[in-house]
């Protein structure tokens, strides 16, 4: 049974005006519990619009989103409950910080759920741990943190609601390379530890290739591909036509394959590549 499925999902901005624009066009797909899914696509392909529909922030123009087989808009009054189950971290989430202390800000979500003080405290500490936020920072004002720390505090604010599905819209945008890697591995270990479903919107093919099991490719408001990361990234030419590319390591391996070496198409991580190449060299007796 899939945890989240959408059927003929469509969203039109400014309907009925000259500025009408279909941002998401008849999307249908199913997401299994525990998946780690990457969403990639050219700018303006509708990724952000799609994820905002998944947690009920915007109402689809037509089509439906089913969470645990229930249409989320069946009871519009209870849409807030959906938002607790499907946590969405926006692009540049640090701009949402507002409380006096980081701790209070992270507690905003759990407080809205209506948990008691002890539970809230627990959730905050746990969330802070997941994003590796130093406990000393919790008493500081969120405006006194560094950019990367603000980002992590804001992500903790959503994780603290303990959503079944966590959606992150370009969580690493604007961070330094090391900060990106650290944040990404934290999200990955969070997913491994909690076993919950994660959707990651990203422009970095390397990031998606390293952590995601499946990849969704959006192109001009439509779903172009939805398959395992390996299968999506073995179609370099097709992705290129959509203005995307494959992870660097994948294209290196592809070149080697074209040069006659027996390696695997759609190799996604450097570790995997090193392993395969060593094995090949050993087999050939060159190592």
């Amino acid at each position: 049974m899939s945890i989240l499925s959408v059927k003929d999902l469509t969203y039109v901005y400014s309907q009925g005006t000259p500025f009408e624009h279909t941002a998401v066009d008849k999307l249908s797909f199913e997401i299994e519990r525990g998946d780690f899914i990457g969403i990639i696509g050219h700018t303006g392909s509708g990724k952000s619009t799609l994820v905002q529909m998944l947690n009920g922030l915007i109402k689809p123009t037509s089509g439906a989103v089913y969470l645990d087989n229930i249409n989320i808009w069946d009871k519009p009054k209870e849409i807030r409950k959906i938002r607790f189950k499907v946590g969405l971290v926006f692009q540049y989430p640090e701009y949402q910080l507002f409380e006096e202390t980081v701790e209070k800000d992270i507690a905003f979500g759990p407080t809205n759920i209506g948990l008691n003080e002890k539970e809230i405290k627990e959730r905050v500490l746990q969330a802070a741990k997941f994003v590796d936020l130093n406990p000393e920072l919790l008493v500081k004002s969120p405006f006194d943190l560094s950019g990367g720390e603000k980002r992590r505090a804001a992500i903790a604010g959503v994780i603290a609601m303990d959503p079944d599905i966590l959606i992150l819209d370009e969580p690493c945008a604007g961070l330094d390379p090391l900060g990106r890697d650290i944040l990404l591995s934290q999200i990955y270990s969070y997913h491994k530890e909690r076993g919950n479903t994660v959707l990651l919107v990203s422009h970095s093919m390397e990031d998606v290739g390293t952590v995601c099991d499946k990849v969704m490719v959006m192109n001009r408001s439509r779903l172009e591909m939805f398959d395992t990361a390996q299968r999506v990234f073995s179609q370099g030419e097709r992705l290129q036509k959509l203005g995307l590319r494959i992870p660097q390591i994948t294209s290196v391996i592809d070149e080697l394959i074209d040069a006659g070496f027996p390696l695997k198409r759609g190799t996604l991580t450097v570790e995997q590549a090193v392993e395969d190449i060593t094995e090949y060299l050993k087999r050939e007796g060159r190592l």
């Binding site: 938002r83 926006f90 989430p93 701009y95 949402q96 910080l97 507002f98 809205n112």
Partner: protein, 269 residues
């Protein structure tokens, strides 16, 4: 949030769009005075017709005008009602302290038509003139005030910047609201006090980002050696053309006509 059309430029290619913004501003002031100087039904009808002509000439969809009227319609209704019930003279209908008189009915109609004309005229100006042109023209018109040590250029610059950032701030508000809703903020239900409290998570980030933007803008302007109006030249010079002359003549004729109508049909109040 985005539906606020009052003061939004609508690019199109019409006679009104091509007029010199200075002429447009002065005409607006003159015509607003005119609307309030139409004392009888004949001159009021004439003025209203003239306003409608401008609206049609502007080639901006009527829907846009209706939208800007929608914002203000409640005020129109309330003032009309007040006028209706507080007229002097012989009551034609009475219920307790509330009475309706002919004078009241006339007043209500006049107020209603006048306010609508007012909104249509000012919308016509803002729809057909880009904010930069508008402040540019204002700066030129207020130039004589520099004699009194009023910093006309600085005021105009502030207005330009404020106008420029209205859509940006609206967009930002949308975004922050969405982000807080995603954390379960409840902004649609509850009583007034609760709703005001629910605004804190939106207002604080909004202020923070407004200050950040202001600071960044100031730095960017200083980096380009901005130091106020003195000695500053302009890229776009305003020139009065034949079209503007025609506009001024037509405007004067209309004013003359209204004054004449006021005098000759004074009985039709």
């Amino acid at each position: 949030m985005r539906d606020i059309t009052l003061g939004q430029y609508f690019p199109a290619d019409s006679v009104i769009h091509r007029l010199d913004p200075r002429v447009k501003i002065l005409s607006l002031i003159a015509f607003i005075a005119l609307v309030f100087c139409s004392f009888n039904y004949v001159s009021l009808a004439f003025t209203a017709l003239f306003v409608l002509t401008i609206v049609l000439l502007s080639r901006v969809p009527l829907k846009m005008y209706l939208k800007s009227l929608k914002v203000i319609i409640i005020i129109v209704v309330i003032t009309s009602l007040l006028n209706l019930f507080y007229g002097t003279g012989e009551p034609i209908w009475q219920w307790g302290i509330i009475k309706v008189t002919w004078a009241g009915i006339h007043n209500a109609i006049f107020v209603c038509v006048r306010v609508i004309c007012l909104i249509l005229l000012s919308s016509a100006l803002t729809f057909t003139t880009s904010p930069t042109d508008l402040t540019d023209a204002l700066e030129r018109l207020m130039k004589p005030l520099t004699v009194f040590h009023i910093k006309v250029h600085e005021i105009a610059m502030m207005m330009t910047i404020a106008l420029r950032f209205v859509p940006t701030l609206l967009e930002e508000t949308d975004k922050i609201m969405a982000a807080q809703k995603a954390r379960g903020a409840d902004m649609e239900s509850g009583n007034l006090a609760n709703r005001i409290r629910a605004l804190t998570p939106v207002l604080i980030p909004l202020f923070v980002s407004a200050f950040r933007r202001a600071y960044e803008l100031a730095v960017a302007m200083e980096c380009r050696c901005y130091q106020g109006g003195e000695g500053r030249t302009r890229m776009k010079q305003l020139h009065l053309g034949k079209r503007d002359a025609v506009c001024i003549v037509v405007g004067l004729l209309v004013i003359a006509a209204v004054v004449l109508l006021d005098i000759f049909f004074a009985a039709y109040v």
